[in-house]
């Protein structure tokens, strides 16, 4: 099958996944494996005063009990991701008697069987001197810390706001949320001749390799991180998590492989989560709908042990053509594990607020919310005055409105009902996601058997990278899809980017493209050399198609024939790609497992994907239950390599958006300062019955700036506008403006 760019070929890994053959981290078997179990702190804050391991050690089959008393000497220092390191947090459990949050790892037990390890962890006895903790930004006495740099000031927002004839000014809140990928965190570590092999689901095998090398004092080449399949990640498997370090330390001590599968409840505290937010948004507008002022004050939850902020004001300030903008950002520290990246970390929460506020402005103006947005469409980036690399938001609104049937909407609140009185609401919202670029390396090889191998240590977290990256190479070389093999998710491969921030297709894809172009050059050289089948011809006149090189006169020779003319009978090429404006030194550091990002706002352009999202909700007039019966999203993300995997990814993001709007919250047990609903029975995510029709439409767009393949961000934009579109639809159905998520029955009792 033709596997060129733009072809909706089936997912390359679909067969392996549908038959159960795909191996995820916990599926790899090792002879002699011992099993680990975690002990988590039962208090939120304080010190461990006593450790009694006797009962745990007495459980038959127990091999090792690790607490903070045993660990210090094992570990070298690694740092927090936001300070240039690779760790999920600055705080490494088991390195002191300190307890900073409930559910912190305070012990690790290893035994011959899972059952024995779990039993021993239960009877490992720790005593604490506990202090009162606070796990919510709404708890009394929490103070705000201003984040210094990111303030944005354009014009004079206060003065323009004061003069504006129409104003809206509200605060919106979102709760803490947890990623909850279906695959649990799992690590198997084994040591061989001083070399460490780790099977752990990872969005960043190169980063984890670098970090583990530092921590265990060995060379990076002596660490092998293997993660070919990842059972959902959404940001929580990007950084190195402490349990992986502890499992590797235990394996080294025991001299045998150790495997840990982290239980679902522990997933809420041994990794990261999406922090709670409060966003104040104010708009000032002329009566004709011209926006004249915007203020966005963002407050986000962070941890006592770390400062991390995902405010999103740098994105909201770029949405509409507004001459006066003022933003500020601050954080509130709580006694919880360090928050982290979760699908559209800054954008999902801030756009719930921002795009709800735009809808409130439309209501205040008596304007159609789509026309209000289109009226304020900016020609250039409102903050820096830079051109967009591409921006097709208006086309997205037009196409989305058509697919959704927006013209059937009657604007009055509660004006649309079914025959049996169910209230129907239509809402819309803008989505965007920054397209940043990360350096990447790739290797492509064409062998005598006709197979094209594409290798880079990027990751397919369900996004379609296995399929898409192969298509980029196949497109350059005119090779049918069935002759393409793609290897990802292994730190022995050429350095790929962290698969986060929707960078994989653009960044790893650019590296693959560059390597494939280099291989194409080599093939042309061989083909036109003295002994080649096209001896003496001008390479510029030759084309690649259907596994052949074709001359201007129609003569065709298969790639296999051309390879026969090469000395080795095969050809390969490597490439190291960097974003145009990045310097080489930064690229090298990044390829070694550092993290260097270019964009989304470069010296010359603002580079973002855009989308328009629509929701139809149905609210029961008596019970006030809310159903999302239809969702439509129209997105422009540059060149789409594979519309099939892209649509699934975008639709999945929309399902996340519905889940965000109506279901998800990590509830806080205030007195005990901990998350209270730490399982999938208590933490609700969308199930099949919660999701109605979903349409993810791709709007054609050409972007010649973003990178060589013209691909912008796809992976996260799907969630961004959905929560506000749903909240706006709920308002349209009921007249009740809910300024928090999740929107629940009790919010609509009026």
């Amino acid at each position: 099958m033709d596997g060129s760019i733009g072809t909706p070929i089936p997912r390359r890994d679909a067969m392996a996944k549908a038959t159960g053959a795909a191996q995820y981290a916990a599926d790899f078997g090792h002879t002699g494996t011992a099993y680990a179990a975690l002990k988590l702190s039962s208090v939120a804050r304080g010190r461990i005063t006593r450790v009694d391991t006797a009962a745990a050690e007495a459980v038959p089959g127990v091999q090792l009990v690790l607490t903070h008393r045993d660990m210090n000497q094992d570990l070298g220092a690694e740092t927090f991701i936001m300070k240039g390191g690779h760790m999920q947090s600055s705080f490494m459990p088991l390195t002191s008697d300190e307890v900073h949050y409930s559910g912190q790892i305070v012990g690790l037990v290893v035994a011959d069987t899972t059952e024995a390890a779990e039993q021993a962890a239960r009877v490992l006895n720790l005593e604490y001197a506990a202090q009162h903790g606070f796990a919510s930004i709404d708890d009394p006495g929490r103070t705000k810390n201003t984040v210094e740099k990111p303030e944005i000031t354009v014009g004079d927002a206060d003065a323009a706001m004061a003069k504006a004839p129409v104003r809206v000014d509200q605060e919106y809140s979102t709760p803490a949320q947890h990623h909850n990928p279906m695959e649990l965190y799992a690590t198997t570590a084994s040591w061989n001749d001083g070399k460490l092999t780790v099977h752990s689901p990872s969005q960043w095998v190169m980063g984890q390799r670098a970090a583990l090398a530092t921590i265990f004092g060995i060379a990076a080449e002596e660490v092998h991180v293997v993660s070919p399949y990842i059972g959902g990640a959404f940001g929580c498997k990007a950084t190195l998590l402490p349990h992986t370090v502890l499992v590797a330390a235990a394996a080294r001590r025991l001299g045998r492989p150790v495997k840990l599968v982290v239980p679902r409840d522990a997933m809420f505290t041994v990794g990261s989560f999406r922090p709670a937010t409060r966003n104040r948004i104010a708009f000032g507008a002329e009566r004709d709908g011209t926006m004249v002022a915007m203020v966005h004050e963002a407050v986000g939850q962070t941890a006592e042990v770390d400062h991390i902020a995902f405010p999103g004001t740098n994105v909201t300030s770029r949405m509409y053509d507004i001459a006066n903008i003022k933003t500020s950002e601050s954080t509130i520290a709580t006694d919880v594990n360090t928050p982290g990246f979760q699908r559209a970390p800054a954008e999902a929460s801030s756009f719930f607020a921002f795009e709800s506020a735009v809808d409130e402005l439309a209501v205040a103006l008596g304007m159609d919310p789509i026309e209000l947005r289109i009226k304020n469409e900016p020609k250039v980036d409102p903050v820096k005055g830079l051109p967009w690399s591409s921006r097709s938001l208006v086309q997205c609104y037009r196409r989305g409105a058509e697919l959704f049937g927006w013209d059937k909407r009657t604007p009055g609140v509660g004006s649309m009902q079914t025959d049996d009185g169910v209230l129907i609401g239509y809402g819309c919202a803008t989505a965007t996601y920054p397209s940043a670029m990360v350096p990447a390396a790739a290797h492509v090889a064409l062998s005598a058997d006709g197979l094209l191998r594409v290798r880079t240590s990027a990751h397919d977290v369900g996004t379609g990278a296995y399929t898409v990256l192969g298509q980029v190479a196949a497109d350059v070389l005119g090779i049918a899809d069935e002759h393409v093999r793609v290897e990802l998710g292994d730190s022995d491969l050429p350095s790929g980017p962290m698969s986060g921030g929707s960078v994989t297709t653009g960044s790893a894809g650019s590296a693959v493209h560059m390597a494939a172009m280099a291989l194409r050059e080599k093939l042309l050289l061989v083909a036109t050399a003295a002994k080649g089948p096209f001896a003496g011809r001008d390479p510029a006149t030759l084309q690649f198609a259907s596994g052949h090189v074709v001359g201007a006169d129609g003569t065709a020779h298969s790639l296999a024939d051309i390879l026969k003319a090469s000395p080795a009978g095969s050809l390969d090429a490597s490439a190291e790609w960097k974003p145009d404006l990045m310097d080489a030194e930064k690229m090298q550091a990044s390829l070694l497992g550092g993290f260097a990002l270019e964009g989304p706002v470069t010296k010359t352009h603002a580079i973002y994907s855009f989308g328009a999202q629509f929701a139809e909700v149905r609210v029961d007039p008596l019970l006030r239950t809310i159903r999302v019966s239809r969702m439509v999203g129209a997105f422009a993300c540059g060149r789409i390599i594979n519309p099939r995997t892209a649509r699934s990814n975008l639709a999945g993001g929309m399902v996340w958006g519905a889940s965000f709007a109506l279901l998800e919250q990590s509830q806080v047990d205030h007195p005990r300062a901990r998350f209270a609903n730490q399982d999938l029975a208590g933490y609700h995510i969308s199930s099949c019955a919660d999701i109605g029709e979903v349409t993810a439409e791709i709007v054609d767009e050409t972007d010649t700036v973003v990178n060589a393949i013209g691909a912008k961000a796809v992976g996260e934009i799907g969630i961004v506008g959905m929560p506000a579109a749903i909240a706006n639809a709920v308002y349209h159905a009921t007249g009740i403006r809910v300024r928090k998520t999740p929107i629940l029955i009790e919010d609509l009792l009026g």
Binding site: P10, R11, D13, A14, A16, K17, A18, T19, G20, A22, Q23, Y24, A26, D27, G29, A55, P60, T113, T114, E115, A116, Q119, V123, H179, P181, M182, E183, L184, Y229, G231, G232, A233, V261, P263, R264, G462, T463, G464, T645, R647, S648, N649, A651, G652, G653, V655, W656, S659, D679, L680, A681, I685, S686, S687, C688, A689, D690, I691, E693, V694
Partner: protein
């Protein structure tokens, strides 16, 4: 006080999985899920919660869908257990439901997929496929965090229609 019980002697259990008998010596607390994954190396069946809330561990026991994490291995002795590895034909041809999941892109990360497929096969056998709404309801015991639901429903509908035709 189960935590203070003396060491258990291994339990001898024979599990019949995908039409093969497997004699095993297990800790009596071993779940069917752990027996399949850790003792028989049948890792197609996934673990997502270990307590019956996600559906990733769905297998068929005597032809009905069951959560392997909620069944003790000892209680599965003498029953006919089928896992995702035993779904395709002896000659390796995909089960129609597996083919439909591939054809409709009803999977992303693929982690929920074996459970979804086992559930979907049973859903069709049970006849709970008369409408999309019914499919959605009867497939809701299998969570998919990637949000592949619309395509999962399309795959199940497709197989149900093939069967009816």
């Amino acid at each position: 006080m189960p935590d203070t019980l003396p060491p258990e002697t291994p339990l001898l259990v024979t599990l019949r999985v995908n039409e093969h008998d497997h004699p095993l010596a297990l800790d009596p607390r071993t779940t069917l899920l752990d027996a399949l994954r850790e003792h028989l190396g049948l890792t197609g069946t996934k673990v997502g919660c270990n307590h019956g809330t996600c559906g990733a561990c769905t297998v068929h026991i005597d032809g009905r869908r069951q959560l392997a994490c909620l069944v003790l291995a000892a209680a599965a002795q003498g029953r006919d257990i089928r896992t995702i590895e035993g779904l395709s034909d002896a000659d390796g041809a995909l089960h129609p439901m597996q083919a439909a999941f591939v054809a409709h892109d009803a999977l992303q990360c693929g982690y929920c997929t074996p459970g979804q497929i086992m559930s979907a096969v049973a859903c069709v056998t049970e006849g709970h496929t008369r409408t999309d709404a019914e499919i959605r309801e009867y497939m809701s015991g299998n969570l998919c965090r990637c949000g592949a639901y619309p395509n999962i429903v399309a795959a199940v509908r497709d197989v149900a229609q093939q069967k009816a035709a």
